[in-house]
């Protein structure tokens, strides 16, 4: 297996696809949406190859390329798999989404062209962030995701989407700048610890020599890094871009952002955590992450309580799940870290399905207000069913993998004892609150009788005469045309379920990945 190829392809191929889209232009020779699947499949394939090699070799022997600039260990493999899977869902759902946008008159050839180019560039940036072993490049890649997605968030050019884009870029840039400051400080500490310039930002080197880093400087650096990457991961205090951006971005982009961008940023924190724990002992990051996690969770739960917009609702739910992941990282035992990684995967899959389905709902109803959507299950049983299943998965019910990871998280939390046990208990209560809010709002949208066709009529369906039998079969049949658009969602749900029941060959790579960031 060619290490360089495997490590380069995940970032390069999406970039090439983006270039191909850009070159093909908007004319007759333009690429179809399904060409986007190439990126996703390549990422998945590379992730799988890496997983095989990571599982085969000892955890200490990752593959490298370009003098360690690119580096593949089990965590890389796991994150690539997640990115690939979510990208597959998002890219799979893209053609139908764009068709809907065109039908609604909100998309032109030019915006579609730009959409494709930017999405694949976005994927490339995320993959780069995942496969690099250099913390500086990691920062550059994460910042690049902000830049690339800015115009995806603001693609509609309406007041709200421009507003969202502005907030997104300003807040994320500020946050990520702090992360850069942190990186610089770590670099400073590393240089002072006698690490050569070329290796002072190399993650494995830093991990190996972390005990020589100056604690005070490292502490400052880690604080800034957690704040900074936490911004992109949707953690407080610089979290506020998230609901705005997620609610305004196109549904597949929201899926990508919520499903993997957050966790890619969080993976960066996970990598730094290893260094910090070795340099400072576990107490510092534990307190920091646990505090941030609980604050984020409380905020998300509070804002879910009175939420009126379903895409924002899903966004806050992302914050909720990222805070759980952060809590797991704070706990930091192997079980907790495994749970965190599984949670990242499960959340990515479920949330991307939820966002893609919500995009369909938006097309169908023309509004993102929860209060104006009624009886979705009666109108479009399959789409709404997918949304419902995804929300159920997000609520943490078995057989979806989020249940397994939340369960393991709670066990690990109580096993850790002391303040962390309390934190876990508080987190569970907050999750309950969030669940209540999510369940109440989703059920309001999904359940109930078919509403009288309001502004946007359901195609090819006459309002049934009162009293006449309105069997669900009928509406299911009318949705047959949706089938092609729905397979990515079904795949996502199936994957989420499968992860929740049996990891299969992924168990090895998951545990190896947790071991990679478990440090001790």
């Amino acid at each position: 297996m060619n290490a360089t190829l495997v490590l380069t392809a995940p970032a390069a191929v999406p970039l090439l696809v983006a270039a191909a889209y850009a070159a093909a232009g908007t004319g007759r020779r333009r690429l179809t949406g399904s060409a986007g699947l190439v990126s996703a499949l390549v990422i998945l394939a590379c992730g799988a190859l890496l997983a095989v090699s990571a599982a085969a070799s000892a955890p200490g022997a990752p593959i490298r390329a370009y003098a360690g600039l690119l580096r593949g260990d089990a965590l890389t493999a796991w994150m690539l798999l997640v990115v690939g899977a979510v990208a597959l869902i998002a890219c799979g759902a893209t053609p139908a989404y764009l068709a809907g946008e065109r039908a609604a008159g909100r998309a032109t050839d030019r915006t579609v062209w730009r959409y494709h180019v930017l999405v694949h560039a976005f994927l490339a940036a995320m993959c780069l962030a995942v496969v690099t072993g250099n913390l500086g490049v990691l920062w550059v890649a994460v910042e690049a995701t902000t830049i690339v997605t800015a115009f995806l968030v603001g693609h509609r050019r309406t007041r709200t989407s421009v507003e969202a884009a502005w907030k997104y870029v300003v807040i994320c840039s500020a946050g990520i700048a702090l992360a850069f400051l942190g990186t610089v400080l770590i670099y400073y500490a590393a240089r002072q610890a006698g690490i050569a310039e070329a290796w002072a930002l190399d993650w494995p080197t830093l991990v190996a020599h972390a005990d020589r880093l100056d604690p005070a400087v490292t502490r400052l650096g880690i604080t800034l890094i957690v704040l900074g990457f936490g911004t992109k991961a949707g953690l407080v205090p610089l979290h506020a871009w998230l609901p705005d951006a997620h609610s305004q971005a196109p549904a597949p982009v929201s899926a990508l952002m919520s499903g993997v961008l957050l966790s890619v940023a969080f993976a960066a924190i996970l990598r730094y955590r290893v260094i910090a724990d070795a340099a400072l002992g576990t107490g510092f990051t534990r307190t920091l992450l646990a505090g941030i996690a609980l604050l984020t969770l409380a905020l998300a739960a509070g804002l879910l309580l009175a939420q009126r917009d379903y895409k924002r609702m899903l966004a806050y739910s992302s914050m909720e799940h990222m805070s759980l992941t952060a809590l797991a990282a704070a706990i930091g035992t192997p079980l907790a870290l495994t749970a965190a990684l599984l949670h990242i995967a499960g959340h990515g899959l479920a949330k991307s399905v939820a966002f893609c389905a919500s995009g369909r709902v938006l097309h169908l109803t023309g509004t993102a207000r929860i209060g104006r959507v009624r009886g979705l299950l009666a109108r479009t049983p399959v789409s709404a069913g997918m949304l419902g299943c995804a929300v159920v998965a997000l609520l943490g019910f078995p057989p979806f993998s989020l249940f397994a990871s939340e369960l393991a998280l709670a066990r690990a939390g109580f096993l850790a004892g002391g303040p962390l046990a309390w934190a876990t208990a508080v987190a569970l209560l907050l999750v309950l609150t969030a669940l209540a809010a999510l369940a109440a709002r989703t059920s309001r949208m999904l359940l109930g009788p078919t509403p009288v066709p309001a502004r946007i009529p359901v195609p090819a369906r006459m309002p049934a005469p009162p009293g006449a039998s309105e069997d669900s079969e009928g509406s299911e049949a009318s949705e047959g045309s949706e089938g092609s658009a729905l397979w990515p969602l079904a795949v996502g749900l199936a994957a989420c379920t499968a992860l929740g029941i049996w990891l299969g060959p992924l168990a090895g790579v998951l545990h190896a990945a947790a071991q990679t960031i478990g440090g001790h």
């Binding site: 907030k167 205090p237 309580l305 397994a404 393991a408 669940l435 369940a439 009293g467």
Partner: protein, 699 residues
């Protein structure tokens, strides 16, 4: 030995096949096929249970199934007891469900009756017969059977939540008919998740201190826990389990979810799912935590007593047939909890035989409750399906139009009122015996609590009688109060067969409870451990020996004697009467004012009025009298509107403040995201400054 895994695998396979079949098979064949497969699941589960009750143990582990936890399974007699119940009920209800969901309802209510309104439910046919609901049904049945098999925290919680999810989805099946379904579903989802949080916290604490999460490890490590942690674990877990069992104060999901669920689902939930709350409590309290101290069980007793009386009072007040039956579940689970609590109390005082007796009473009541409650819900479901009505004030006269259904309901009601020769009486008798004889257990707490428990059991039995006299007398007897009730037709044969199977169980339990004694004994000793240690005749087949209890009761004798006496009493006057005449029909006494109309008949509400007045302080009914005078004079009344409702007071006092608080918090939280970039960036700036300050001040 190999029977259990084979049967378990069969059940799992059938469940999966059922779900799959529901998704792919066309509508016409779907319901019968899924019903058959579900019945198969139940039968296989019952087979496992019965095998386990003969004393066979089995365990297995699949560490790779369920990531990060692994799946550990074990079957013992205690699990077998609950599996047998669940399997039997699932089988019968599956048969019933086929008749229920297949085809069209006997009479579709007029369109205006389908207008959303709490008292006017539509037929549940579309809901339960739909593809999604049919796919969930076998899986739900499977999860009901598998919960007792779980032998590790993760496995247990996964199956527990799967069961909760299954029931939740099935409760929602009728969401297109009634808006109340959605509200009920949300309540249920939240309450069940609250239960999960409690369970998870409790079990995770337990596992953390015991050093392992398999039940074997918990059992082994339970004694290493400090008393405080043990108590905390028990309180958390007990709250969750009693919530699932429908005990106060976490019962609010129950009276909402049961009435709104499709009727077979109500039957399944009330007859099997609530039991698993008891199972969890017994498994954790006795088996895993190994008994515990007296105050745990005093708490359980208190909850049980409170639930019993509160539940039955609400049942007596309810004028919704399904709500009445649902609250009766609260009552019966309260009785079971009294038994369980008493058992734990005795065990904590070291009297194991007495503890075994109380636990046996509780477990016997569990099975009795399952039998009659499933029967009641099936019969009530037939009524709802035939009339589209749940409101007792509109029903009536069904005994003439739905004789079989009425008979089945009467049989179930006889069990529910705990009077001989009903099956409920057998277990309540045993429960009372265990309480009465528990007084020899030393301890002032025992001496105070037991008489009160006896009184509460008695009071709940008395009020239950009133409640079911109401349900039966107002709902099925007399004359129809509504045209829909008047036009009801008997349920289709499959529904009757399904309910009939349950009726057979009820009768068997009523006349020959001894048939179940062996299994009961094993189940009890599986929970409390070898109980004969201190008793003189330990080591016997039952392992439970009781000194000093010489009371006996022979249900069969009572039934025989009653039958003979009734026949005699009915026959002798005829012989004595000199002139044998045919019965003559006559008009009812009408006080000379013309034939009484159905509107003059006593309604359920009026029936409950005296009891409501007696328990005014407990129930706190809300009355609203609205007098509209004639325009010309304030003394001449034009119209009087009188409204009274008996709200769930616990809900009022306990939940509404919480809900209001959350609502306020949500509104307040909105201000945190008011759209201002300055504010958003300010969060970050403040966070940064605070953290930097913290760092400089030496954190």
């Amino acid at each position: 030995m190999s029977a259990i895994p084979v049967a378990l695998a069969t059940a799992t396979g059938l469940g999966g096949a059922g779900a799959l079949a529901a998704l792919v098979v066309p509508h016409r064949a779907r319901v019968p096929l899924v019903g058959a497969l579900t019945a198969g699941v139940g039968a296989a589960g019952a087979a496992v249970g019965v095998t386990a009750l003969t004393g066979t143990h089995w365990s297995a582990e699949f560490p790779n199934v369920l990531p990060l936890g692994g799946t550990y399974l074990a079957v013992d007699a205690l699990a077998g007891w609950f599996m047998t119940i669940a399997g039997a009920v699932v089988t019968a209800v599956a048969v019933y469900g086929v008749g229920y969901a297949a085809g069209r309802p006997a009479r579709r209510p007029a369109p205006e009756c389908r207008a959303p309104g709490p008292g006017v439910p539509g037929p549940g046919v579309r809901g339960l017969g739909s593809r999604g609901a049919q796919a969930v049904l076998p899986l739900f049945a499977l999860s009901l059977l598998l919960v007792p098999v779980a032998a590790s925290v993760s496995t247990f919680l996964a199956l527990w939540e799967a069961m909760a999810l299954g029931s939740l989805l099935l409760v929602l099946a009728d969401h297109r008919e009634r808006p109340a379904v959605r509200r009920a579903g949300v309540w249920y989802a939240v309450m069940t998740h609250l239960g999960l949080v409690l369970l998870l916290t409790g079990f995770a604490l337990f596992a953390a201190d015991a050093g392992g999460e398999t039940f074997a490890a918990l059992r082994a490590g339970a004694h290493t826990l400090s008393p405080g942690v043990r108590g905390l674990v028990f309180v958390l877990v007990a709250l969750a389990f009693t919530s699932k069992a429908g005990a106060v104060p976490l019962h609010t999901w129950l009276p909402r979810a049961y009435p709104e669920a499709p009727d077979p689902v109500s039957a399944l939930m009330s007859a099997t799912m609530v039991n698993l709350g008891v199972y969890g409590l017994v498994r954790t309290g006795f088996d895993l935590l190994g008994g515990g101290t007296a105050w745990w069980w005093l708490g359980v007793l208190a909850l049980g007593g409170l639930s019993a009386v509160y539940g039955v009072l609400q049942a007596a007040m309810a004028s919704d047939l399904k709500r009445l039956v649902a609250y009766s579940s609260s009552e019966n689970m309260g009785l079971v909890l009294i038994g369980v609590g008493a058992s734990g109390l005795f065990a904590a005082h070291g009297d194991r035989p007495q503890a075994a007796l109380a636990l046996a009473a509780a477990l016997l009541h569990v099975v009795n409750h399952s039998a009659f409650k499933a029967l009641l819900f099936c019969a009530a479901g037939s009524v709802v399906r035939a009339t589209g009505l749940r409101d007792l004030d509109r029903l009536g006269g069904l005994r003439a139009r739905m004789p079989w259904t009425a008979g089945l309901f009467a049989l179930g009601a006889l069990g529910a009122v705990a009077l001989p020769p009903g099956n409920g009486f057998v277990s309540e008798w045993l429960l009372l015996q265990s309480l009465i004889h528990g007084l020899r257990v030393p301890g002032v707490a025992v001496a105070v609590v037991l008489p009160l428990s006896v009184a509460l059991v008695a009071l709940s039995a008395g009020i239950a009688a009133a409640a079911f006299v109401k349900a039966l007398g107002v709902g099925f007897f007399a004359r129809p109060r509504d045209e829909r009730a008047a036009a009801a037709r008997e349920a289709p044969p499959l529904m009757l067969v399904g309910a009939g199977l349950l009726a057979v169980g009820v009768v068997a339990l009523a006349v020959a409870p001894g048939l179940f004694a062996d299994g009961l004994g094993r189940a009890v000793s599986a929970a409390t451990g070898p109980t004969g240690g201190g008793a003189p005749r330990g080591g016997g087949e039952l392992g439970v020996r009781l000194a000093d209890v010489s009371a006996r009761m022979s249900p069969l004798w009572v039934v025989a004697a009653l039958t003979a006496a009734t026949l005699l009493a009915a026959g002798l006057p005829r012989l004595l009467a000199r002139r044998r005449r045919r019965r003559v029909h006559a008009r009812l006494w009408d006080c000379g004012g013309g034939a009484p109309t159905p509107r003059m008949a006593y309604t359920a509400t009026s029936f409950a009025e005296p009891l409501q007045r007696v328990f005014d302080d407990v129930l706190a009914p809300e009355q609203d009298v609205d007098i509209t005078p004639v325009r010309e004079s304030a003394y001449l009344v034009d119209r009087v509107r009188f409204q009274r409702s008996v709200p769930d007071r616990i809900e009022h006092r306990l939940y509404e403040p919480v809900l209001r608080g959350l609502d306020r918090a949500g509104r307040a939280a909105r201000r945190l995201a008011n759209g201002s970039v300055h504010l958003y960036l300010g969060y970050g700036f403040a966070g940064l400054v605070v953290l930097l300050l913290a760092l400089t001040t030496g954190w």
